[in-house]
Symmetry: C2
Subunit: 139 residues, 2 copies
Amino acid sequence: MENTYFKSLEKTALGHTVSLVNVLDQLQFNQQGIIPVIAQEQTSGAVLMLAWMNREALEKTLQKGRMCYWSRSRQAFWYKGERSGNIQRLIEMRIDCDGDAVLCLVDQTGPACHTNRPNCFYLRVDGKQVVINSEPVIM
Amino acid sequence: MENTYFKSLEKTALGHTVSLVNVLDQLQFNQQGIIPVIAQEQTSGAVLMLAWMNREALEKTLQKGRMCYWSRSRQAFWYKGERSGNIQRLIEMRIDCDGDAVLCLVDQTGPACHTNRPNCFYLRVDGKQVVINSEPVIM
């Protein structure tokens, strides 16, 4: 979705900086006040999961250096790994051209998926079938 | 968001298959009937963009082997690269554990971002600043 603030950054030179607060003020949270966040493992490049953050979760993530999502089902903050121990350390946060998606490079401890699989994207489309593509890690 | 169909797949053995139609029937489209889709470049592992598909866009993508998104601003199908030529060929589609996100491995022609940058995530958070992290590719 086009946003005039992010549009204005398009012509900005490589290495130029703008204020984080201004960017957060302009982020395109949806009607529920949340934005989709992709967690990608820095070392392997594997896309681990997609979850959601509100502004406060983004700020907590940046402050603590640990991924803190907003649980839509529980309507609560959710520090990834707070129960399982499978935490995600934030290495780098990036925001997209329209300000409506976030990519976080992370250091993942243990499996990222609640099923104990290495990542959440374990259902692979294969023609007219979907194949179970990985199995839970035995801890 | 928990869904009983996807919950039932959690214990399914590696290599087991289920019907694609059943999976599509159970996908967790949001209130606007769309689901977030991550495009990842297969060769480099780079996360290129996040966009949205409705069920028909998913089906078109699978049928044509080319990424077809649903434009929320234009309320129209949008074959990536139809104007720019920077098409995305679908290599593999994966669905996540909750059935509410899709990951597509793609072969990207040219830059993925509408700004002509290689990918859309060109705003990097650096302390209290955000840095412009890449520049448009000169075509």
